[in-house]
Assembly symmetry: D2
Homo-oligomer: 425 residues x 4
């Protein structure tokens, strides 16, 4: 049996290491390398995404891969591991007991959020010196914790392999933010044979000690990159010769945020990034926007997506600029199986520090784990998205985000016990 203290200390150490070196989706080379090294060290079989993911299913992988690899190596990634990755991040590790039994897949997301961490003196990561060193990269959604839990859980369960049956697969998925990685992993067959699928999230507005067996209310989502291309001109001498891409984007952004809500099913949209213009005295010839849409139902999702696209085109006409768009991420909705959620609740009930358990938490966000949940369910399996409460210092994605590390031990134990309930010999 594992030692609580040892497990907890290992997770804290790992989480802080990942927190210091956050990597945005499809660039998690250092993170993948660290996971791969640990899994290999204990003797587990691993498969890199580069070995099973087909490139045509990869969404939103726009980073300068070469530069990112260089950075990752400088920051401690193993060059040999990186070579094996073939440019794609993420991996799976598996415990194959050799005994008949169910296949249980557990997914951990490993990427960071594109935001710059606060340098404020009251921010714990800064006080303790593990704040992000990568600009515009921050673990502001607890995936550093998820990854640390996943690695540690894999090691501890692997050491109990003789008490288990069937298979337990650990999926370390890249690029959850932007809903870019889940689709490719599902298409690669990573959960095709799974009887049970588990994933989880820390925080989500619930305090440390709360555990939900499942989660409902995931939103359909698309991620759109939009580019306006106009014509630059001297803004003082001949502004009339320019075609202003910045104003097209500004006008589109205001209108997109003004799309009427749909009561048929909650809708959300966000223009998260707008970068436009070259220089102060040049009519801005180009603008780039990162947009997302969300809808609680397929109809609502289509409604909001179409409205956004129509606005983007209309603004292009208004300002006589050219529009190109790219769908670079997509998530669907899925429902947690009640039976499986009940098993998780039961597992959670005996975990130290858990003072409230409930079947289902409502949600109004997106997670591309839904692709996996739906795939498993379509194949006749059961899937659930566990909610592990964790006190937080600020909302998810906020630059002051930080979570109560004690929740990691709760997550570890809930998952550990659930796996034993599903795959115990």
């Amino acid at each position: 049996m594992y030692s609580d203290e040892k497990v907890f200390n290992k997770m804290v150490e790992r989480r802080r290491d990942f927190h210091r070196y956050p990597e945005t989706g499809w660039t998690e080379f250092r993170t993948t390398s660290k996971i791969a090294e640990s899994m290999t060290d204990v003797g587990m079989d691993i498969r890199f995404a580069g070995d099973f993911v087909q490139i045509e299913h990869v969404l939103g992988r726009n980073a300068d891969i070469e530069a990112q690899v260089t950075r990752a190596v400088i920051q401690g990634a193993s060059p040999e591991m990186i070579e094996k990755m073939k440019g794609l991040t993420g991996l799976t590790a598996e415990i194959d007991t050799g005994r008949p039994g169910p296949v249980t897949a557990i997914r951990f997301d490993i990427d960071c959020v594109d935001t710059t961490e606060t340098g404020g003196s009251s921010h714990l990561p800064r006080q303790l010196g593990f704040n992000s060193v990568n600009p515009n990269c921050m673990h502001a959604c607890a995936h550093d914790g998820h990854t640390a839990i996943g690695m540690t859980l894999a090691e501890e369960l692997f050491s109990e392999k003789s008490s288990l049956k069937g298979k337990v697969r650990f999926i370390f998925q890249p690029a959850e933010e932007g809903a870019r990685g889940g689709f490719a992993f599902v298409k690669s067959g990573a959960v095709d044979d799974a009887d049970y699928f588990l994933t989880f999230h820390l925080g989500l507005g619930n305090p440390t000690g709360t555990v939900f067996g499942g989660t409902d209310g995931f939103l359909y989502s698309t991620k759109i990159d939009a580019d306006y291309r106009g014509v630059g001109a001297h803004a003082g001498a001949e502004p009339q010769k320019g075609k202003n891409a910045l104003l097209a984007a500004a006008s589109a952004a205001l209108s997109i945020h003004g799309i009427a809500p749909s009561p048929d099913g909650l809708t959300r949209t966000n223009v998260g990034v707008l970068n436009a213009g070259d220089g102060r005295n040049v009519v801005p010839p180009k603008a780039h926007m990162k947009i997302e849409t969300r809808g609680a139902t397929e109809d609502a999702a289509i409604y909001i997506y179409r409205a956004v696209m129509r606005i983007l085109h209309g603004a292009a006409e208004m300002y006589d600029v050219k529009l190109t768009t790219q769908k670079c991420g997509e998530a669907i909705s899925a429902t947690s199986d009640r039976e499986l959620a009940k098993i998780v609740m039961e597992a959670a009930s005996s975990v130290c520090g858990v003072d409230r358990t409930d079947l289902i938490q409502p949600m109004a966000g997106s997670d591309d784990a839904c692709w996996m949940m739906k795939k498993v369910q379509d194949n006749g399996g059961k899937a659930t998205y566990i909610g592990i409460g964790a006190d937080t210092k600020a909302g998810h994605h906020n630059d002051h985000f930080d979570f109560d590390e004690k929740a990691m031990l709760i997550a570890f134990e809930v998952l550990y016990k659930t796996v034993f309930m599903l795959n115990g010999k």
Copy 2:
């Protein structure tokens, strides 16, 4: 006497070299180094801006100086020269004849425009391989030509020192774009003793062969950096907790471009750059805008500046975000002295290739040389801003801009002859 062909070839070579390595205002370390080396080679006295400019007069110097110095050295700047610069770019070189006579100061601007040069195959700099290697930096306003002319003119006049009287000072000014460098140079006393002040611009919509003795109609101008600071939040789960800096900036940009024109004196404003947001699914917590205002009269300048500031503040209130602004550039208006302009016209009339001369060209742009013109005039001297026509491939600041290099020889000869008319023994 100089050889036309040799002078022309030297200017072309230098201009193309500068074109390949454009440097934005206050980072012209390589350019300053190259000028300094040439001036020193022929034996002229030079003074670096670092030796006479006071830092409190420097506007809009926000670049990462250390990184720029590193880049400049990699691109061929002399480390010794750079050390002498003490972090500030630009320099003056002087011919002191030792004989009584007027002091004539000639100003050349050396910085580039913040835009990315086209990669189009019909673009001559690309065809001939001297297109910019520095991202978002391009000599799209002919300052590469100005610099090449200035260096060559200084050399040739220096070799005729014995035929001259008084002093001829060559001012290589950094950071003309954004009206950031002129003010500091004037405050340093660079033109305090000048009896005559000359500067010029290639192009400005006039064909090769046209020369104007002076220019009128310069616009007052301010350069404003505006930053909105809001609050990030998960755009799907709790958008109401965010304060959206991107929308504040978008709203301000639309309103700024809608400020009513003032017939009391032409007004212009431009939001040239807008960068907002961190990530696609985060309510954008910050936005940065680069804005400029222009006015033909002091009243018009004040009108448009106040309107912009009012809009910036109003949009902050609308979106409940914090605003900080910084004035990082400023230019005034000035008038060319007719007497001096007539001398230039006379000089131009005998220059080969000049087929049209005129006294004054009208203008609707800004140039911080006006600070120098006004200073010289206030001290009782004469100043003019010469217009040297040059065919261009696209408007100034456009990414397809390129000018007819033959105009450089015309500029050289007009200035050479003018100096002889003013300072000839």
Copy 3:
């Protein structure tokens, strides 16, 4: 006992008469006159709003009352009745049995929507010749039906007075649209002594034959009139002298519709009307907006109201115009009592044509009947808002709206039977 056919025909006739002469809130002089005449004819006691409503509780009464009175008389209102109204519309009529028993108050809203009825040939009111003759006035929310039902119900119940106990009060409330009338009626004490409070709505997306005992999910709401006052100027010759109220309003409208939704409780806002400017070639010196806000909870209501007010002020600053605002309507939320809703369900179950009954319908609109519901509940009474399904040709407030008149008979019978269950001897 009443005759279904006679009752139905009377309601149809009355509804179509009201439909032809729709009157916006606080101008229902003809409607009030018709109700008063009918109630008086059968011998009921009536009290005009002018006799009990205090003017300081009246919200959003901006119409030209004199002109409206003139119009009403031309359209058939009784001059004597109008004189008794003292300028305020609405009335109550009461059956006082003289026997001990509960006081039951039933509320009927009588005003129209501010929209112009379609002239389309497929529109039944037009085909049958009872379409609106009053511009920008249309019974597009079924209050014509409500009024007809109320009058007929009062008459029929009055004729059964001997079988009843306690009191039954019929409240014909003006100005429900815009949430302007309910508050004043409550403040006047109209429901202070009520043991039971009933009101209802036809349609609301449910088909004919459906009856809900109660309704939940009413939204808090405020109605805001905002006026910008700028300065006019000749738009061609001296636009810079103007202060543009139209652009301030346009900018505010776009931003108001972009307020982030609050998941803590649904929020809604609408700029329903924007009228700005005087003439084509004048910088628009004034703008008027009619805005509403809604929130599912008090917190959500405060959030959205404050955001709107902040935007209105910010836009005033942006465009240097003056802002005045007036809160001219307000509604709160209320919950239907389950016990009373069950009684209604029971009554409905035996009504011919009812094929589905349910306890509570969810709602996402506002109704100022909630002031009355809350008052009765605060006094220890029971209140419910009954849902009477009715097929409609288009959404509520749409200019093609029309409802299935058969639903009026269902409403009549449900209410009739419910009253007998509450006040039957």
Copy 4:
């Protein structure tokens, strides 16, 4: 010879009468009637517009003509005169001397501005009780003065008929505001035979005592009515079913005011009126805008017109609403003939109260008299647009506008003397 005092008093009386009853373009029934009665009284031949203007050349005549005729009669128009008008306002009156000589046409514009006159106590028209009684109608551009001058000049010159030769035609043109009437009058042949064409304007920023022989710099102009048609819906319950015409118009208005200025020739545009929406709680199904464009050159005029149309279409796409547009006014540019302007200057030089005369005043507005000027010039005649300075209390079109009535006598005398110089026997 005329008596200054009598003439002045008559003009003041007439001007104040017209000021009290201002009439917008194509509804000047009372004004036309008053002019017709006076002209007839002295025995002049008159022709009503209804007798020579073809309806297909009439632009922007959207008023409810029947209602306006009723109003005009109530306000003192002669029913017989109105019958002769056949629905069209404006007229010409002619002095035909029967002697050979030039044909001189003088044009007076008679319509008001669409704005509501201030009720402020410092406003002279209010103090003296001749402020406008017609809502949204105000003589805020001195056409009341123009009309009074024209009538009085016609009478006085007619009384000197025996001293004149050729013909003098007085054109009282409707609908100058919005550039709606001039085109129709030219098309009707009203100036086809004119050798000289004179018109004038009071004020225009010049003080009383200043006279300009001519005016240059008139702007091309178009007047566009734009209508968006969307879909109404209940703003709280089903906003997603609406198509928001108000936001389309708001977005278009902001973008139209942000069209980049053209230095090739001054451009102007104005969204002078925006009326949108039906009711507060209805998604606004319709919006109406009154827009104008102006350009100093034909190219500039085309540039700005096309930009406006593109924006209108783009905003329609953004908000999924239907757009219809109508060009309801158009003016061109024209240049004053120097020879004729000199004659006017000479005439002015001997007028009492004139203390400054100049040849040409620059202009940045539009006047559809340019259609007449151009027609006369194309036929070989001479035309000029005289500037008569007048002190004003506020800018033209401002609701506080009022002008120094003494300028009317100057205008009268300048025109009187000019006519004698052209048509004196």
